[in-house]
């Protein structure tokens, strides 16, 4: 593939002086880099650094305010997205945007028919099915894309981009939310693609992917290039550790410590109450079964959460974690079993009534209200409380996530993926809940932000909030939780304190998989 018959071997992609301004905000500021033919470039940076904006500029979804983009020697800066795609630039969306009413296979056929209107139908279908097989979607080819859960939609993003037969592929956080064994599969796939395509640009927070797939790495911060070079050198640099990697990886002390528990006390409904020996548990699930149509997802889950506890639910994708979160929020009605809150049976209670009992959700995929501004998203969750109370809560969540204050008038979904995640958490806090269910909150966050987030969660727990954390990031979850449950095939397969579970070899086998 890399045998380029074209004029000499200039870079495949060459970007200079690229800028994108939104009003006064410079999302991308005078960025310049080039991608040699056959290269794989990784791009990392804090949330909101402008990484997804860069993908949008390269793919043509966004129009550059200044600068030029040259692809294969031709200036494509002014070309619309469709023309760039036809030239061979494929991209994925960080938050998947499949064609919901089309079948999964049709999602791929669309690209093929657009490019080759006269291709034989059988050939197009065979090509699509081969890509679906490769991306692990062969079993759902005939289902409407709407039926796919978030992580499979992410796979569809990749599959759909591949159906274009791109020469240059731009991947925007395709590794987010995968457990280690799946990350291993993804790395194998990307490495294979690297040999087939003429160029790859990978935006990723999963550092294993960056380390194992990208020879070159560029760090972006505030829309500018902060560092560039060989991956291992860039990752080792102290500057990068300070803005991106944080304590867990480099041992550097980060300046942005989480607020003290005292300031967060106001965000939690009931402070640590004097323990009453026979008090009913805040949440209790007994023999819970649930599913979608004929698919049984939960098969008899028993779970008890006491006020003030931090409980983590771990498990592979498809183990039933998000369904469990859905049942607890009242969105999914269990087919059997009991859901008890404060000792009262609430099975089948509507979601808004469960919310009034002091339960809040931070749902997988963020679910920010797109037409509303950041502040409106927050106020909506506050419900009917007095003006001063509302303002007080706003101030408190803004203190937790200062960037939200800066962006308060902006559209909720116009922010970067990581900022939207912060908004989702802040929104859950606005109802002054007793318990929050966090479903995959670390998905798509820079390591440094994850550190801050988990510091915030620890502070919230100290302030008396009960936390139920559904998480892929085992290490962080174990560090925070008092009690850990590991789910497998819709059941809780292993329970214990964080220390017990950490030592248990079953966990390694169940969850970490065989990869390192």
């Amino acid at each position: 593939m890399s045998a380029a018959p074209r004029e000499a071997a200039g870079p495949l992609l060459s970007v200079s002086g690229l800028s994108k301004h939104y009003g006064g905000v410079r999302a991308i500021d005078e960025l310049a880099f080039s991608l040699p033919r056959g290269a794989v470039l990784g791009i990392i940076g804090p949330n909101g650094a402008g990484k997804s904006t860069l993908i949008g500029l390269l793919g043509g979804a966004l129009r550059a305010s200044a600068g030029t983009i040259q692809f294969d020697g031709a200036d494509v800066t002014r070309e619309p997205a469709a023309e760039r795609a036809r030239l061979g630039i494929g991209r994925t969306y960080q938050i998947p945007r499949p064609f919901l009413e089309l079948s999964v296979r049709e999602n791929l056929l669309a690209g093929q028919y657009a490019l080759q209107p006269l291709i034989a139908r059988r050939q197009a279908i065979a090509a699509s099915d081969a890509i679906l097989e490769r991306c692990g979607l062969a079993d759902v080819a005939d289902l409407p894309a709407r039926a796919l859960p978030l992580l499979r939609r992410k796979r569809l993003e990749l599959a759909r981009a591949l159906a274009l037969r791109p020469r240059l592929l731009l991947l925007d956080e395709v590794g987010a939310g995968l457990v280690d064994s799946e990350v291993g599969e993804l790395i194998t796939l990307i490495q294979a693609l690297a040999g087939e395509l003429e160029g790859l640009i990978i935006i990723e927070h999963v550092l294993r992917v960056v380390r194992e797939c990208c020879a070159q790495l560029m760090v972006v911060n505030f829309g500018r290039k902060l560092a560039e070079g060989a991956t291992h050198e860039v990752l080792a640099s102290e500057q990068v550790a300070a803005v991106y990697l944080g304590t867990a990886h480099a041992g550097a002390v980060t300046g942005a410590a989480a607020p003290a528990a005292g300031t967060l006390g106001g965000l939690v409904a009931a402070g640590p109450e004097p323990a009453v020996a026979n008090a009913a548990p805040l949440l209790e699930l007994r023999g819970l079964h649930a599913g979608y149509g004929l698919a049984r997802v939960l098969n008899g889950v028993n779970l008890t959460v006491h006020a003030g506890q931090a409980v983590a639910i771990l498990g592979t994708n498809g183990a039933g974690k998000s369904t469990l979160a859905g049942v607890i929020s009242g969105l999914i009605r269990p087919s059997a079993g009991e859901l008890r809150i404060d000792g009262v049976d609430r099975t089948g209670t509507a979601p808004h009534l469960i919310a009034r009992l002091g339960f809040a959700q931070c749902m997988e995929g963020r679910r920010i209200f797109a037409p509303l501004s950041v502040e409106e998203n927050l106020l909506l969750a506050a419900g009917r409380v007095g003006r001063s109370e509302r303002q007080q809560r706003l101030d408190q969540v803004y203190q937790l996530f200062p960037v939200l204050r800066e962006r308060r008038t902006q559209g909720g979904t116009s922010m970067s993926g990581g900022q939207q995640q912060m908004l989702a958490i802040a929104r859950a806090l606005m109802s002054r809940p007793r318990l929050i269910v966090f479903d995959e909150i670390s998905l798509g966050l820079a390591p440094l932000v994850m550190d801050q987030l988990y510091a915030a969660l620890a502070a919230l727990r100290a302030a008396g909030l009960t936390l139920l954390i559904v998480e892929q990031d085992v290490q962080r979850a174990l560090d925070l939780a008092d009690e850990v449950h590991v789910m497998e095939h819709g059941r809780i397969a292993l329970s214990g304190t964080a220390a017990q579970v950490r030592e248990n070899p079953v966990l390694r086998h169940l969850y970490i998989g065989t990869a390192d």
Partner: protein, 324 residues
């Protein structure tokens, strides 16, 4: 991912009922009706003509709104233009066949002309834009004397007999059925629905949204123009309030929404239902409107896939009883 694919066969959705076959069956039934001249009195032909014209318009609108996501409130513009073009051309001595074709082409050209402007708008804005176009055109026709102003135009040559008109409408519906078959069960339909679901994402995989939408818009407008021309021919006189009136837009919208947007059978089922309802309640026009409104609300609330959605469901139950 090998073992996971075992469930593929079981989870594959059953095929939808053959809309094309049903349309054909209906066409043949209508043709037989026309041939049984003794039995088919004027009332039946009259009703059949109205049904065929409305079904054609509904097919066209369903292509736009149901498959393309282009919810247009501009139906009346194309119907009206078609009617005026036919009457104008025939009055100048153009033979019927040519005048009819010219009417369709005029409507298609209007679509081409306004496409740049209306496609700049998306979603609700597109809808409002087409409504503005329709109203502007109606006001223009009311005030522009060379086209007869508020009085309109009278058709000088003799119109065909009712039976002739019915056969023309039958032919038109046959063309509409064929075009819809090409547009909805083809690779073009995949592109059109992809643009409907997410225009930006479609562009990112190389689909040119403007061209895809334009083709649907032009084809739908052509059909609307041809249908409007037939209506003008039948009336023998066209005036702006009737031919460019909002009731065309609203009727067609009601038919497709009740029938089921984006469902292949929407036009058939919706038109049969709405026209039958109109006949049953012919003596109570006010009640008719109110009941149609209530049914629209009920369908939107309880059957977003429309009556056709129910039929499809029923069909699947019958043919795949084992599914559940």
């Amino acid at each position: 991912m090998g073992p996971a694919s075992i469930s593929a066969a079981a989870s594959a959705p059953p095929r939808a009922p053959p809309g094309f076959a049903l349309s054909l069956a209906l066409l043949i039934a209508f043709a037989a009706l026309a041939l049984l001249s003794g039995w088919a009195g004027d009332y039946v032909l009259e009703l059949g003509f109205r049904l065929l014209v409305l079904m054609t318009l509904a097919e066209a609108w369903n292509l736009l709104a149901g498959y393309g996501g282009l919810v247009s409130l501009g139906t009346a513009s194309f119907v009206g233009l078609g009617a005026y073009a036919l009457v104008g051309a025939m009055n100048r001595g153009v033979p019927l066949a040519l005048a009819w074709a010219a009417a369709g082409i005029a409507a298609a050209l209007l679509a081409l002309l306004v496409s740049r402007a209306v496609f700049r708008l998306r979603g609700l804005y597109f809808t409002v834009g087409t409504l503005a176009l329709a109203e502007a055109l109606r006001l223009f026709m009311v005030n522009y004397q060379p086209f007869g102003g508020a009085i309109g135009l009278f058709l000088s040559p003799d119109a065909p007999s009712l039976r002739g008109l019915f056969l023309l409408a039958l032919g038109l519906f046959a063309v509409a059925t064929l075009l819809m078959q090409l547009a909805t069960d083809s690779r073009y339909s995949i592109l059109l629905r992809a643009v409907r679901d997410d225009e930006d994402a479609a562009a990112q995989i190389g689909v040119r949204p403007f061209r895809i939408k334009l083709l649907a818009f032009v084809v739908a407008s052509l059909l609307m123009g041809l249908a409007g021309a037939l209506q003008g021919l039948k009336l023998g006189a066209v005036e702006p309030y009737g031919m460019f009136g909002l009731q065309w837009t609203v009727n067609v919208l009601a038919i497709v929404v009740i029938g089921g947007q984006g469902q292949r059978l929407a036009a058939l089922i919706g038109a049969l239902f709405v026209v039958s309802l109109g006949e049953v309640l012919a003596a109570y026009p006010a009640l008719h409107l109110a009941i149609t409104g209530v049914i629209l609300i009920l369908v939107i609330r309880f059957a977003p896939q429309g009556l056709a959605g129910w039929v499809v469901l029923l069909w699947r139950r019958l043919h795949h009883g084992s599914q559940r």
